[in-house]
Amino acid sequence: MSAFPPLPAELTIYAVTELRERWLAALDAAPPDGPVELDAAAVVEVDAAGLQLLVALSRRLGADGRALRLAAPSGRLREACAALGLAAMLDPADRPEEIPA
């Protein structure tokens, strides 16, 4: 299991700076391979800055050939991902079939 804390309720511009620090620390602490799974059930507020941070994390992991998975994303997070064409970010099992990206 990764050392990543669950996603906070507020995944927005107000939280991204702190979140980035925590994730960088978690990256150092995490096992160097295997997918990273974030518990995304608690997300209530999300904006593009928050999603961008997820994309950036995914990019960093992708460079190492690792995958980022969002487990049990909340409804709000799903919608936001779909709205920004980032549905692929969601765990494939959870991906709404009708949204291609």
Partner: protein
């Protein structure tokens, strides 16, 4: 959020007042729209407009760094978006919540951006935000765990997408819509400016479904190289909409400065099928699917499109908007939107005091021109008189059009009362329908501003004292829902505002009893009906049996009357017990300039507002019988008119005229004659307010300076009419006497 240090502080300081005034307008629109939506919850256009208002407030607040406004409005916007997607319905409770939130936004907007904030304020806002989230269905998602059923919101979203234009079903885009290809790269400062691409895209979805969108993830640096507050997001997307290019661009207006935007399109819905192959894979920037040849006016290919095109031509024709005309015109049912945009560009915002300065100068110009005309006439130089006449004519036109600039429809003031009526009625447990009539009636802005408070009082009074509870109404054999009508119309140079209710009316015996108790009237004296009701406007009068926190402790109606009279207006009350009451407020259209009719009495000059002059009977003065107090009657074509003699009434000196005349004046529903010495003709008059010393002078509304430098007093016809009708009534109290049969000169300094 961090703010840019290099933000130009002086620009912000200069533009902030404009933002505040604009935001207040948006907030007012939000309130209106919410109230209207309560009556028609399925009105898509209003819902969209509501969302746009909130979006605009948030967007522009972001530019000004008003973080509290942005943060709070964001939650409102989120909920509105859900309503728009049909996932949350507008219930009365939700309406109340949104109205409260709107009040909060208004308060935040008015607050200085760096004003210190109490714990209470923060707690209140947090509570509102929590309610908003609960209403939006967010709260339950908080605790949900993996494997659980999909949140209800998301399920519904899926369903709505199925119903909409899903991918691979591009052809099911509604007839008349066109597919546009957009590529947008948001600028690095987007987040820091308080803007959220998510909201921009949500706004865009308001124009039509986005069947496909791809994020250019490659542009986002890995997290270790990322400044998380810098925006690297770019998107390629397809949009099916019947809106035009300008409407699409408008979605990006807040970020336009700072983003790259390419808009291609549209292919008509019929052409989409040829573009379909491109849809199979994810869209990549720079690969527009629509062939260039498809970009152009939609060709009618099928009856549906033709029908849509016909519909468009009807509402497109009155739009000379060049942008709309040159943009490829997707068949549009959104004419209203286009018109809105076009109207916006036709308005300019002018500071009220600049306009006032022009109007003041114009007043001086009118006076100066009158002087010049008079001198010209004295020279008996034909060409000079003629030239002066032409100048005067032009000045009059300028005057009229300048005053027109200050005219605003009263509807805006009226519609404020929707909220008052809604909330007050709810608080009192009453059911009241508000009806607004004649909302397009225009009057001077300065009058509008000062009529709102008295109106508020009258409306509250009607709600509180006039209209009954549903039970009482049913018991009285009336429909349970009360009716309150606010009506406005123009009537002879005045604006008349009527407030009608179908409540219990005013019980004359109770008014009388109260007047006796309060010593307003000698016990046992029973004046005529009209006078009984007028007692309600006396200082210190209240018939409320229990004091409520709404219409207060009887400080009401006398203040209303005073306010209205200070606007040169009058207020009257009529009532039918059990059937309802009517309050009629009569106001001048403008406080600045009137057309007057100049008369002389003794050595003094007076001006009647021209609209109030019905006819002038030269030499009829001798027929009038006038008593020692200057009041009497005159027979005019077999009818008896009350008449006042100015000379006697105001105790004027000067040699008596050989031939006095009678000016017949209309004041409200009454007609009366005024005996004057000389008729001096029509005169354009700039109203100067009376000094404080003269304020209590009865029958006068202002003064003016004539071309030769003389001062003339301007009559208030209604006030003068009261003097004319004022048969002496014996009263025990000086107060009452003062109100009804005063000496006209009591305010005159000795």
């Amino acid at each position: 959020m961090t703010r840019h240090a290099d933000q130009d502080a002086s620009f912000i300081a200069e533009a902030l007042p404009a933002f505040v005034s604009e935001a207040k307008e948006q907030v007012a629109s939000i309130e209106q729209l919410l109230l209207e939506l309560e009556d028609a919850p399925d009105d898509r256009e209003r819902l969209d407009a509501l969302f746009r208002c909130a979006h605009t407030v948030k967007g522009s607040a972001g530019i000004f760094g008003l973080d509290r406004v942005v943060a709070f409005t964001h939650h409102v916007e989120t909920l509105l978006d859900r309503m728009r997607e049909g996932r949350v319905a507008l219930t009365p409770a939700l309406g109340t919540l949104l109205l409260e939130c709107n009040d909060e936004i208004r308060a935040l907007v008015e607050q200085a951006p760096d004003a210190p904030e109490g714990e209470d304020d923060r707690a209140r806002r947090a509570a509102l935000i929590e309610s908003l989230q609960a209403a939006g269905g967010d709260a339950p998602a908080r605790g949900e765990r993996a494997g659980n059923a999909v949140a209800p919101g998301a399920a519904a979203a899926g369903a709505s997408r199925d119903g909409g234009a899903g991918p691979g079903t591009g052809s099911d885009a509604a007839p008349g819509t066109a597919r546009w290809q957009l590529r947008v790269g948001f600028g690095p400062d987007t987040f820091r400016n308080g803007l959220d691409p998510l909201a921009v895209l949500a706004y865009l979805r308001g124009l039509g479904p986005i069947p496909r969108i791809a994020c250019d993830a490659g542009a986002v640096p890995p997290i270790d190289a990322l400044d998380p507050e810098t925006c690297h997001l770019g998107f390629a997307l397809a949009l099916d909409t019947d809106a035009g290019r300008d409407a699409i661009e408008a979605a990006f207006s807040f970020v336009r400065e700072d983003c790259t935007l390419e808009i291609d399109g549209p292919a008509s819905s019929g052409d989409v099928s040829t573009a379909r192959p491109g849809e199979a894979g994810p869209a990549r920037a720079g690969a527009p699917e629509a062939s260039a040849s498809a970009a152009g006016p939609t060709t009618a290919d099928g009856s549906a499109t033709t029908a849509a095109a016909t519909a468009t031509s009807a509402d497109a024709s009155p739009r000379p908007d060049a942008a709309a005309a040159t943009a490829p015109a997707p068949a549009s049912t959104r004419g209203a939107r286009g018109r809105d945009a076009a109207e916006e560009t036709r308005f300019i915002r002018v500071q009220a005091d600049r306009l006032d300065a022009v109007i003041n100068l114009l007043g001086e110009l009118v006076i100066a021109a009158a002087g010049a005309s008079m001198l010209a006439r004295q020279t008996r130089h034909g060409a000079l008189v003629e030239a002066n006449h032409a100048v005067s004519g032009l000045i009059e036109e300028i005057r009229n059009s300048t005053l027109q600039l200050r005219m605003v429809p009263i509807g805006e003031t009226f519609s404020r009362f929707r909220r008052v009526v809604r909330d007050t009625a709810a608080e009192l447990g009453k059911d009241v329908a508000l009806e607004l009539v004649g909302t397009e009636t225009e009057l001077d802005k300065s009058v509008v501003e000062r009529i709102a408070d008295p109106l508020m009082h009258v409306v509250r009074n009607a709600l509180d004292h006039g209209l009954e509870t549903p039970e009482a109404r049913i018991a009285a054999g009336k429909p349970p829902q009360g009716r309150l009508v606010l009506a406005a119309c123009h009537e002879g140079g005045s604006i008349v505002i009527r407030i009608d209710d179908d409540g219990r009316g005013i019980q004359r015996d109770r008014v009388l009893q109260r007047a006796w108790d309060r010593g307003l009237l000698e016990r046992g004296v029973v004046p005529p009906d009209a006078r009984v009701l007028a007692l309600i406007f006396e200082p210190g009068f209240s018939t409320a049996e229990k004091v409520t926190n709404l219409s207060g402790r009887g400080v009401g109606m006398d203040v209303v009357r005073r306010n209205i009279e200070s606007l040169r207006g009058s207020v009257t009350l009529s009532s039918e017990p059990g059937r309802g009451s009517r309050i009629e407020i009569r106001l001048p259209l403008t406080l600045a300039i009137i057309d007057g009719f100049l008369v002389g009495a003794g050595l003094s000059r007076f001006v009647f507002p021209l609209e109030s002059v019905v006819e002038v009977v030269e030499g009829a003065g001798a027929d009038a019988n006038v008593d020692a107090r200057g009041r009497g009657t005159v027979a005019l074509r077999g009818r008896v008119l009350p008449v006042v003699d100015l000379r006697v009434l105001y105790g004027l000196d000067g040699p008596s005229a050989e031939r006095s005349s009678v000016v017949v004046v209309q004041a409200g529903a009454e007609r009366f004659g005024v005996r004057v010495d000389q008729l001096l003709g029509q005169h354009q008059t700039v109203i100067k307010p009376l000094g404080r010393m003269f304020r209590s002078l009865r029958g006068m509304s202002g003064s003016t300076i004539l071309g030769n430098g003389e001062v003339a007093l301007i009559f208030d016809p209604v006030g003068l009419g009261q003097l004319a009708a004022g048969a002496p009534i014996h009263r025990s109290r000086r107060d009452a006497d003062r109100a009804h049969a005063p000496s006209p000169l009591e305010g005159q300094p000795t």
